[in-house]
């Protein structure tokens, strides 16, 4: 089952490698990983999308929590949550027809064209991973995807729940 693990950790050198290390040395899956400092610069927040049965997920959260640099770990997918991912995708727009089709789909998906070149558009799209998958699929039907880059999922719990030190 797909799970979203959110980790609050010290923004210290080596912290990230320790977390990644836990996943590789214990054979857990990483589907995506997203990390950056929080509003408090001494902390980093990391969101890992992984999959496994309940036992594996329990072990992942416990093993990550065990790391000295880690303050809090939560499984966002345990409850209601908001999750978003951003994708930048560069598509070929070699004819007016394609340009129009791309533009139409960009509007439908509420994406944005952030760069325009003679033969391509660079598009920014945010949403759930499913939405990004769907957008990429739609694009690939009308034109050629030259390259794409995704941030991986980040998320927060809905309501009053919060991951704070």
């Amino acid at each position: 089952m797909r799970r979203i693990i959110s980790v609050l950790m010290e923004n210290a050198p080596g912290s990230l490698s320790r977390i990644v290390g836990v996943f590789s040395q214990r054979g857990y899956n990483v589907d995506s990983l997203c990390v950056a400092p929080t509003d408090d610069k001494s902390l980093s927040r990391l969101t890992i999308v992984t999959h496994g049965d309940d036992k594996v997920i329990e072990q992942i959260t416990k093993q990550v929590n065990k790391l000295i640099d880690v303050l809090k770990v939560t499984d966002l997918s345990d409850g209601h949550h908001v999750e978003r991912e951003l994708m930048l995708v560069k598509v070929a727009t070699r004819s007016d027809l394609v340009r129009a089709e791309v533009k139409r789909n960009v509007d439908i998906f509420r994406a944005q064209i952030v760069d325009v070149d003679a033969n391509n558009y660079t598009i920014q799209v945010t949403g759930t991973s499913d939405k990004l998958d769907a957008f990429a699929h739609t694009m690939s039907q009308s034109t050629e995807i030259i390259e794409a880059s995704r941030t991986g999922v980040c998320g927060l719990a809905r309501g009053e729940k919060a991951l704070r030190p």
Binding site: G14, R18, N65, L71
Partner: protein
């Protein structure tokens, strides 16, 4: 504030923490620190002959005292040579701090001479690590390292020190940190009160309870409390390899070690129990055998300081996160007064059953007129040390014989590499023990294979007058490998022979020690007496034993805990 060099700070911090012994080996990146060591007498440095041994010495020192062991090595090969020792300590949750030199900061990443990314290399096998970047941060990093190493579930911590920050020519203000606590690190010591209540209810309802004690009971100094619980409940007690001595092996409620080479009565009692109280044990694969067939009737109460150990292998019915000592106190309080007579009556049938398993006497073996049996060597060792020595062990058949035939009545007396199974651990560990307990008897049970993995330390023993007693069970083979080859590979002894065996007596003598060769059963006792009579000398006992002896009992692969071979021909 006092001004001093980074190197002096390292040594001063060790002194302020209370470190008395450092095990290490010098080299380019740590010459400044060695210079600072030279200038003082508070911290004694013990020069080993190989850095792996330094880590094992610090480990033996830590296991026998509960204090954190300290290692000091140079960058590159010095640091990487400690990795096996660090992994050994990590697997067995032993507090250790490894101070490793590093190339100067500006050369990090340049593939400089003797550069390795020690923090990276050691990452999977440490509890935590520090790469110190400024001299003024040295005291805090080292103090935190000791704090982390010896709180919660203990483990090794690496502190990597670039050469430029320990430069003896630059001075910086020294301040020992007032507080080393961290917001991200707060081990849970006390059990949750609701879980304690649940645990006690389960224990008191049980008709066939067993207490399964592990290394955590030793780490948290909980022997007396565990004994009190056991006596109150009148339950049988078994122990892991790591837990031996936490509950006295000569106590009448002790049913022996459990697991792969556990006693029949221990494994039978576990398998048939209706309640298992696991105290600081982690349901290791060398205990459980096939997890799908593990203890089908038992409610499992699992007490462990590491939440990640609970329900990792075997699901716990009553998980209790906390240290064994704190939780044991809580359990005792919650139990209150128990009617001893009623409890005894309730468990009468259970004890009758357990005693019936005991009566099989699974450790009995046949002596031989001409060949020395490994079991009788351990029995003789027990006799000649009055069961009161520190026994370190290497890894293999001799380790299992020692664990089974030397009853440990006290904690911290049995020093062995349980989790990692590191051959070469025994001798340096026994040296660490002797450093910590100069007046005690420190013996190592080893074999002709294991002892050759760190035999160079005989020189260190001479330099520091460590009168270790080396009991080497020489079967001219890698015994445990050979046993598995006999059992599972049709006796094809692929690379398990030692064809060019040195003369161990001459070898010991070459290093300045005493060597004794024993080949006949009738000579054993006298030789052992001679060995322990030489109180201030290292004695190497090269004991030629029966090559074909196997360790029994032994669990049968893929079976339940109690599916065992009892000898070459009998099984349960």
């Amino acid at each position: 504030m006092e001004m001093m060099s980074g190197a002096a700070m390292v040594v001063r911090t060790l002194k302020d923490i209370g470190v008395k012994h450092v095990f290490g080996y010098p080299g380019g990146a740590v010459l400044d620190i060695y210079d600072a060591l030279y200038a003082q007498e508070d911290v004694e440095h013990i020069l080993v002959r190989h850095e792996q041994a330094a880590a094992h010495m610090a480990d033996g020192y830590a296991r026998s005292t509960g204090k954190t062991g300290t290692v000091l090595v140079t960058s590159g090969p010095g640091a990487t040579n400690t990795l096996t020792g660090i992994a050994t300590a990590f697997m067995d949750s032993i507090p250790m701090v490894v101070l490793s030199g590093q190339v100067p900061s500006k050369h990090i990443g340049e593939d400089a001479f003797q550069e390795t990314d020690m923090v990276g290399c050691s990452r999977p096998i440490v509890k935590h690590s520090f790469l110190v970047k400024r001299a003024v941060d040295i005291p805090e990093a080292i103090a935190k390292a000791y704090y982390i190493a010896n709180t919660g579930r203990p483990g090794p911590v690496v502190v990597d020190l670039p050469k430029d920050i320990v430069n003896v020519l630059e001075e910086h203000p020294y301040q020992f940190p007032d507080d080393v606590t961290m917001r991200s690190y707060n081990p849970t010591l006390k059990g949750h009160s609701r879980q304690i209540k649940k645990a006690v209810k389960t224990l008191l309802e049980a008709k066939r309870p067993i207490i399964y004690v592990g290394g955590g009971a030793i780490t948290s100094e909980a022997s007396e409390l565990v004994t009190e619980i056991a006596e109150k409940l009148n339950a049988p007690v078994t122990s892991t390899l790591m837990g031996l001595g936490a509950f006295s092996s000569v106590h009448e409620q002790f049913v022996g070690m459990l697991g792969m080479h556990g006693r029949l009565e221990a494994n039978k009692a576990m398998h048939n129990a209706d309640c298992i109280l696991a105290l600081g044990a982690r349901f290791d694969d060398r205990v459980t055998n096939n997890v799908d067939k593990f203890c089908p009737y038992a409610s499992i109460i699992h007490v462990d300081i590491d939440p990640a150990s609970i329900s990792k292998i075997i699901g716990a019915h009553v998980p209790v996160v906390g240290s064994v000592d704190e939780v044991a106190k809580q359990l005792l309080k919650e139990m209150g007064k128990i009617d001893a007579k009623a409890q005894t009556a309730k468990l009468a049938d259970w004890w009758e059953q357990v005693n019936q398993w005991r009566s099989r006497k699974c450790l009995d073996y046949k002596k031989d007129k001409n060949l020395i049996k490994p079991q009788e060597v351990i029995e003789s060792l027990y006799k000649h040390t009055n069961g009161d020595a520190y026994i370190s062990s290497d890894v293999g058949q001799h380790q299992m014989f020692a664990a089974l035939y030397y009853p440990f009545a006290k904690p911290r007396r049995w020093i062995n590499s349980g989790g990692l199974g590191t051959m070469g651990f025994g001798l340096p560990a026994a040296m660490g023990v002797q450093m910590a307990h100069p007046e005690a008897v420190s013996a190592v049970v080893t074999g002709d294979g294991s002892i050759q993995m760190n035999i160079q330390e005989l020189a260190t023993c001479m330099q520091y007058n460590l009168p270790i007693k080396i009991i080497s069970l020489n079967n001219r083979a890698l015994g445990m490998v050979r046993q598995w080859q006999d059992m599972n590979y049709k006796g094809r002894h692929s690379s398990s022979y030692m064809d060019a065996m040195p003369d161990f007596v001459k070898l010991a003598e070459a290093y300045g020690h005493i060597g004794i060769k024993v080949t006949k059963p009738e000579e054993l006792d006298a030789a052992m007496a001679k060995c322990f009579a030489a109180k201030d000398r290292l004695v190497f006992m090269d004991i030629e034993i029966d090559q074909n002896e196997h360790v029994y009992p032994m669990q049968i692969k893929f079976g339940a805990m109690d599916d065992m071979r009892l000898s070459k021909t009998e099984r349960t």
